[in-house]
Symmetry: C2
Subunit: 133 residues, 2 copies
């Protein structure tokens, strides 16, 4: 059940993606499932990465940007220079994300105000179909 590896089908159901998507991500070097003969076997590492990939996508990052980010999450064998560069990239992404969150917060506030206004209008036009003009 809670085996260490999963087939492509199991991954698809667990994460609600298609096989095509997983193969595509592998071709872009976002995932690196091990091979048993010809078949792919997805490890715990792949599952963690996929989770991050899907989250990154929801934030509007491109797959290429996500690949950069994943490098940070899974260093471990990088050289100093490479690691330093990765840290820099991550710092930039981090401020991107913080800016994005701040904007989002503002937008939420604005939308809430609009909603209040809209709801008042709906309430006001209850029963009077021809309030316009």
């Amino acid at each position: 059940m809670t085996e260490t590896t999963m087939t492509i089908r199991e991954m698809c159901e667990a994460f609600e993606v298609t096989p095509r998507t997983l193969r595509f991500y592998e071709s872009k070097e976002l995932l690196a499932p091990i091979r048993q003969g010809q078949k792919r076997l997805f490890t715990k590492r792949d599952r963690a990465r996929l989770k991050l990939i899907l989250r990154g996508k929801r934030f509007g990052f491109s797959l290429e940007e996500i690949r950069q980010l994943l490098d940070l999450y899974y260093v471990g064998d990088q050289q100093h220079t490479q690691l330093k560069r990765t840290v820099e990239i991550a710092r930039e992404r981090l401020s991107d994300m913080e800016r994005q969150r701040d904007e989002l917060t503002t937008a939420i506030e604005e939308l809430k105000e609009q909603l209040n206004w809209g709801e008042k209008m709906v309430a006001a036009s209850q029963g009077e179909q021809k309030a316009a003009e």
Copy 2:
């Protein structure tokens, strides 16, 4: 200077977009600049909408979704039923955005931790090029 309308060129510089983009948005009914003969004149309303469009894009909304949202921001002559529906859509978008913000907050925290770790690694590998293995 602070005239009520702007040319396409002025819009482009003000918002850092291309003419093509503005025409494209018009073709998708996101903007509706008035025409003076053949030329487009962008009003204050268009500028407000464009600002919202660009923000929406940064949040990962599609242009079609943004169009839905803009309907809410610029109602004014909607019927009751239509307005009610629009309010519903907006409520859904709002919870989308709040979920997105919460996720983003979590991701920011995680990335910060990773960064701290990464920076420690960088510091630790100062001067010793061959620390690996």
